[in-house]
């Protein structure tokens, strides 16, 4: 009765724990999602979730395919120097050249002649407002603030806005050329000093240029008189032609987030740990068995050797593995020459997992074997059992609860392996990027939301593992108590129970053994 109560309590506690974790995640998650999607919306301007399009209420036009070009290039194309150039989307796109105190807005003729865009008549003068330019600038500013990502924003300072519909615009000693087809079907805004002649050969330019190395690398040829901070480009269309999909929020954004996650780290972790566990299970049991059989002095050394990966920092294991299998040492090169090239590959991740999780398996298995009643094993020997049979039919089944717990622990350790894996296997998405490595690199890469997701997954898995061990331990305990009348609750098996176990194992073994014998006779 009290057992059942205890069980109910365990379940209640675990449910509470999961609930707590979920709450913590749920509370942190939307905050992160918001940070990404919140856009500054000005004057009833709507900006799409991807920051590519914008529209405004009661304004007959909208913007689509918006991009912000933060740098240009001074590279000549096929020998022709174009000055400093920024890309434009295409021949029909608008472009905004932004300098510290002004912004030159170029609107292509197709837009200027349209029925839905009516810029002010005083196009060459400073902008005064009260026409279609106001909503255009508002849209541009909203879009720019959505994609500027910490760079100088269009709305950051007072700027003079200038509208031009001609492709050439002279401005403060510089000639700005819009829609220059540098390569077939690729258009640029080019900026060069007024003195420069278009299409001059770069060799001539190089002669006239007498600048420091750094300056000439920044701007091959003469330096433009204006300092362009960035260029905006995009398409202006009639409002009816553009659909602006605003950013989603709440549950939908969570759904979108979960949909966008790369789940490969989970599978890599699972695959790596599962394969490592096959090796660890076999090697751990054999090592435990071996260490029982040899004499005491050697045993101590061997035991230390088997256990040391547990106490060493994983980076030390990783370092040693890298030295052993890497290209930088004679041993590693010899191995590589003989076809064993492990480093920075998936087998290396498995190897790292094996090394770090092996001691857990070994220690628990050895402890369980040592706890077995020696009289029991001797009894088996008097019955003429071979050592191998004693191991598989008697020791394993009797020590099974501990071994199972050890396996699960080792599995969890392999799942959590970070240091050694990163060292020898690196961080290759879908190959060696396990969950712990994904957490670290996602956070470093600025994706703390994804990192949080993986943290949640790892906590959940670890929790399930511990829950399973506890459940399994209590299960076998109860089973044992029901079978034999034990005075104490210790793991030590009583001789009575052991012998009864021996009897059953022997009994179960008999028919099979008899059959083998029969086969042999034939």
């Amino acid at each position: 009765m009290s057992k059942r109560l205890a069980n109910t309590r365990i379940i209640a506690f675990s449910l509470a724990f999961i609930l707590f974790i979920t709450l913590v995640i749920a509370l942190t998650m939307p905050a992160m999602a918001d940070e990404k999607t919140t856009l500054s919306i000005e004057a009833n301007t709507t900006v799409s979730a991807d920051g590519r399009s914008a529209s405004a209420e009661d304004v007959p036009f909208a913007i689509n395919d918006f991009v912000r070009f933060n740098t240009g290039t001074a590279k000549a194309y096929e020998g022709i120097d174009y000055g400093y150039r920024f890309p434009m989307l295409d021949a029909n796109s608008f472009a905004v050249v932004v300098t510290a105190d002004s912004a030159v807005i170029y609107v292509p003729a197709t837009v200027a002649e349209s029925s839905w865009f009516r810029p002010a008549q005083q196009s060459e003068k400073g902008f005064t407002g009260e026409d279609d330019l106001t909503p255009l600038i508002s849209m541009l500013a909203a879009l720019d603030s959505a994609v500027s990502s910490g760079g100088t924003e269009l709305s950051a300072s007072q700027r003079q806005f200038i509208l031009t519909t001609t492709t050439e615009y002279q401005f403060k000693g510089s000639l700005i050329d819009f829609g220059v087809e540098v390569e077939p079907e690729h258009y640029y805004v080019t900026i060069k000093p007024v003195e420069g002649t278009a299409g001059s050969r770069i060799t001539e330019q190089a002669e006239s240029a007498s600048q420091t190395e750094s300056a000439s690398q920044q701007e091959s040829g003469a330096q433009p008189a204006i300092d362009v901070q960035f260029v905006l480009s995009g398409h202006m269309l009639a409002a009816s032609e553009v659909t602006v999909v605003p950013a989603v929020s709440g549950f939908a954004s969570l759904q979108e987030f979960l949909h966008g996650i790369d789940y490969r780290p989970f599978w890599v972790s699972l695959r790596t740990s599962a394969v490592a566990m096959i090796f660890v299970f076999i090697l751990g049991l054999l090592a435990a068995h071996l260490s029982l059989k040899i004499n005491s002095r050697l045993k101590g050394v061997l035991d230390s050797f088997f256990t040391i990966p547990m106490v060493l920092p994983p980076t030390v294991c990783g370092f040693l593995l890298l030295v052993m299998f890497g290209n930088s040492t004679a041993v590693g090169r010899w191995l590589i020459d003989h076809g064993i090239s492990l480093v920075f590959s998936w087998p290396a991740a498995v190897l790292a997992a094996i090394v770090v999780s092996f001691p857990l398996m070994y220690r628990t298995a050895r402890g369980a074997f040592e706890a077995l009643d020696p009289a029991l094993l001797d009894a088996a020997r008097t019955l003429g059992w071979k050592e191998s049979r004693i191991f598989t039919r008697l020791m394993l089944p009797l020590a099974w609860p501990s071994i199972a717990a050890g396996t699960v622990l080792a599995f969890a350790r392999a799942m959590g392996e970070f240091g050694a894996t990163l060292f020898v296997a690196g961080n290759y998405a879908g190959v060696t990027q396990t969950m712990p490595i994904a957490i670290y690199f996602q956070w470093m890469g600025g994706h703390s939301d994804v990192a949080t997701f993986w943290v949640f997954v790892v906590i959940l898995i670890s929790f399930i593992v511990i829950l399973f061990i506890n459940w399994y331990a209590s299960h076998t305990q109860r089973f044992r108590q029901g079978g034999a009348d034990l005075a104490d609750d210790s793991f030590q098996l009583s001789a009575d129970e052991g012998i009864s176990a021996l009897a059953t194992v022997g009994g179960a073994g008999k028919p099979k053994g008899a059959k083998v014998k029969a086969d042999k006779r034939r």
Partner: protein
């Protein structure tokens, strides 16, 4: 009783085996189907499937994958395995330790020189790809004031994120500019000491992205990063642009890795990065100036 335990043991053993087999199987199938999807029914049936492994400076983490996608769209037989974006020094070290790659792009001439000295790269293929600028950033919306480089000594700034100069070129550039003020002891930006005035403020980061992240999370008030880092991290903003004469010119050299079996494709990809107009749009958006 023991029969049950034995059964349990066998059951577990088999399930582990089955699970791993299933996973292996899955993996195998997945790669097979991946190949299937990328194997094009193109006009050039002779084009061999090539997978390029690129090692690139950490600052290229967002821009380069987009250019790679573009390249794969145009050359369907070429795909990219997970590109490694680490500190340039780490990449050079990793190459020296035997990691295999086809292409190396670092963020400084110095790190590429080291790779050349290690005989990790083919010198003949080396070329300069991009220019970048060094900026001081703060968390978005923070009220930290930083008007000139001397402000690093200001008492209102208690933590400064700088890339670890041993491996991070951005850290070396930052140290060079600090050296111009006498706040760092070595003019190469490497292997020196910070002056006492700022020594306790410096927080070293293992790559430039980490420095940016330290600032974005508010763990450091300011950090030295590239202009291009602004466009790949949310939550930081420029507060000061370090004058370009305060440090060595920031140039990203690239070279084909020695021993690569895909030299022609690797070279072609480099050329694509430098000259393709659509790639140019991506570099422009992320703040890399193509040289």
């Amino acid at each position: 009783m023991s029969k049950r335990k034995l059964a349990l043991l066998l059951g577990l053993g088999f399930s582990v085996l089955a699970l791993s087999l299933a996973l292996f199987g899955c993996g195998g199938q997945q790669t097979a189907s991946d190949k299937g999807s990328t194997t094009p029914a193109t006009t050039e049936p002779k084009a061999e499937q090539v997978t390029l492994q690129v090692f690139a400076a950490n600052s290229l983490e967002k821009a380069l994958p987009e250019v790679q996608k573009l390249y794969t769209a145009e050359n369907e037989n070429v795909t990219f395995s997970d590109t490694q974006f680490k500190a340039s020094g780490d990449l050079v070290e990793q190459l020296g330790a035997g990691a295999s790659a086809d292409l190396l792009i670092t963020a400084s001439k110095g790190s590429m020189d080291t790779a050349a000295k290690d005989a990790s790269i083919d010198e003949a293929t080396r070329m300069d790809m991009f220019a970048n600028d060094l900026v001081v950033v703060r968390a978005k919306g923070s009220d930290v004031v930083f008007g000139s480089l001397e402000d690093v000594t200001s008492s209102s700034i208690t933590k400064i994120a700088i890339g670890d100069a041993a491996t991070v070129p951005a850290g070396q550039y930052a140290n060079q500019s600090l050296n111009s003020l006498g706040l760092y002891s070595s003019d190469t930006g490497k292997e020196g000491e910070y002056a006492d005035a700022i020594k306790d403020k410096i927080v070293l980061a293992d790559k430039v992205g980490t420095a940016a992240n330290y600032v974005a999370t508010g763990d450091c008030q300011i950090g030295f990063v590239y202009t291009s880092d602004l466009y790949r991290y949310q939550g930081i903003e420029t507060v000061y642009t370090v004058p370009s004469d305060a440090h060595k010119t920031i140039v990203y050299p690239a070279a084909v890795v020695k021993g690569s079996t895909k030299v022609d494709v690797a070279k072609d990809f480099l050329e694509f990065c430098r000259t393709n107009a659509d790639a140019q749009q991506i570099w422009s958006q992320y703040g890399f100036e193509v040289l």
